[in-house]
Symmetry: C2
Subunit: 305 residues, 2 copies
């Protein structure tokens, strides 16, 4: 990418020409990619674009409210409250692939409903270069919620950022005056907190993952990680007061990376790890243990599933 | 305890008087407590004592061989190979309490068989002071494999170390010329590696726990931990070569403690953690991730179940 402003101008013109007078939709996840693509397309066609934010209940703390505020300038924004339907669909599902599949299916169902209502002919997507590379190999099959084009019959797919790397997307986001919280936002997986919970997804585990991730983001801000979050691994014994408890094990992950394709676990000082441990076990009676993930990618992935 | 040699002399005399010409048995786990109690009682009554070592298959790497060598001087030593029977009994068991129960039951069955053969009237046990305190409260119900006295009908229970703390037991072990490997040995739970495996115990997970614990003991020796080991937590994604894998998450635990009743997670330098991570993920294709447990006791326990 040569120049950010030039890129924006060029893409806005391209999108305007391609969509014309038709209606378009985009699935807005709140991540930097889809947010930037939505802002770009909205700049081009205004309320002909319906950005659809599906509140899956798998989001980070306060995320839906942030989305609502950040994109308040788009009159056509649609926020779908699908929390209960996702939890119902995920009940009893423990296999990671099936989990992703269930989430993907439910997402399509929610999105499709809105897309049909708007009569959209075009689908805008925030696909970036590493997504395309990785989905060509066997490494990452469904990192983002995909499969939309196969289900809804669109006239065209618009992917304005398909040749960009993540850091370039962030520049574009800044050029579009997206709030810093979006421009600087850490990558967040399509299936949300569900891939940070080993085994069945329940409301209790989601609460643990959500609150613990909030602590991690807060405490590790100064380390400027590519991604930092908390995952829920399983249950192990602990002692709270005089009682033996069987509580969740929370794993803290913080990595540095250029593009997410490889990553290094960050060295965090012991005092900070202890503060994180103490806050996470203190805020939730169901947590007995906090561990720090010391594995690079490879051999681990950044996310847990 | 005033003087170690005096203590040994006094206890040997007491045991000799109590057991007299009768037969006695002791379950020898390889841990410092039961090893010391066995040596003490053997000193008192010689081959009237049958030390029974049940190889549950849940032991650390090389442990059975070490036991065989260390106690080779006891002609009456019995080593029972029960590996397959324990794995069979544990198949499909995921609940931690049930797991302990199954192991306890199987252990009793194995021990009872030998006890009956020997016609033993006395049971010697390595119970120490913190065991008694903790089993009075609700904190620790079955840390050691217990319940023997209720099943086999012994005339008397001999617990020569019931008033000692762990460090005092180590002094006694040294006074009894037990090899350093026993005297300095880290505490090891009665149910063995099974309580370091969340969920079902399988041969594959045992192999991971065993090999990873061997690495941890090797790398952390210089930190002189109270206990250092590896646990198997669940499965998460990773990348090995060009393949996406679903591998075990190994948790490394290393704590300092005076008596095991409270403990502090040790601060381990980053380079060492990275060497451990690299060795553990490198030695086993089924491991995708290594985490370091940063939680003290309380709120966590030292062991995982």
């Amino acid at each position: 990418m040569v120049d950010t402003d030039e890129f924006v101008e060029e893409k806005v013109a391209e999108i305007r020409e391609e969509i014309g007078d038709a209606q378009a939709v985009i699935a807005l996840s709140g991540g930097v990619d889809s947010s930037t693509a939505a802002a770009l397309a909205y700049e081009a066609v205004g309320d002909q674009l319906t950005p659809v934010y599906v509140d899956t209940g798998l989001m980070r703390k306060g995320e839906t409210d942030e989305i609502r505020e950040t994109f308040a300038y788009m009159d056509s924004l649609r926020i779908v409250d699908a929390k209960d339907r996702f939890l119902d669909a995920l009940a009893g599902v423990t296999d990671p692939e099936e989990k992703r599949h269930v989430i993907g299916e439910q997402f399509i169902r929610e999105f499709e409903t809105v897309a049909e209502e708007t009569g959209a002919d075009y689908l805008v997507q925030g696909t970036i270069y590493p997504d395309r590379i990785e989905s060509e190999g066997t490494i990452k099959s469904h990192h983002n919620v995909g499969g939309l084009p196969e289900v809804v019959d669109f006239e065209g797919i618009v992917e304005p950022m398909r040749d960009l790397y993540k850091d370039e997307v962030r520049e574009v986001a800044r050029a579009l005056d997206l709030e810093e919280i979006i421009a600087e936002r850490m990558p967040f997986p399509g299936p949300g907190l569900a891939v940070r919970i080993l085994g069945e997804v329940t409301e209790e585990k989601l609460e643990v993952a959500r609150e613990a991730t909030h602590v991690v983001e807060d405490e590790l801000e100064e380390y400027d990680p590519w991604q930092a979050f908390a995952a829920v691994l399983g249950k192990a014994t602990g002692v709270k007061g005089d009682n033996r408890v069987h509580g969740h094990v929370v794993s803290v992950r913080s990595v540095e990376s250029r593009d997410g394709m490889t990553a290094r676990a960050q060295e965090i000082d012991w005092e900070t790890l202890q503060r994180i441990q103490s806050r996470i076990t203190g805020q939730n009676d169901n947590v007995s243990r906090v561990v720090y993930d010391v594995t690079h990618k490879p051999p681990a992935t950044i996310e847990y599933e």
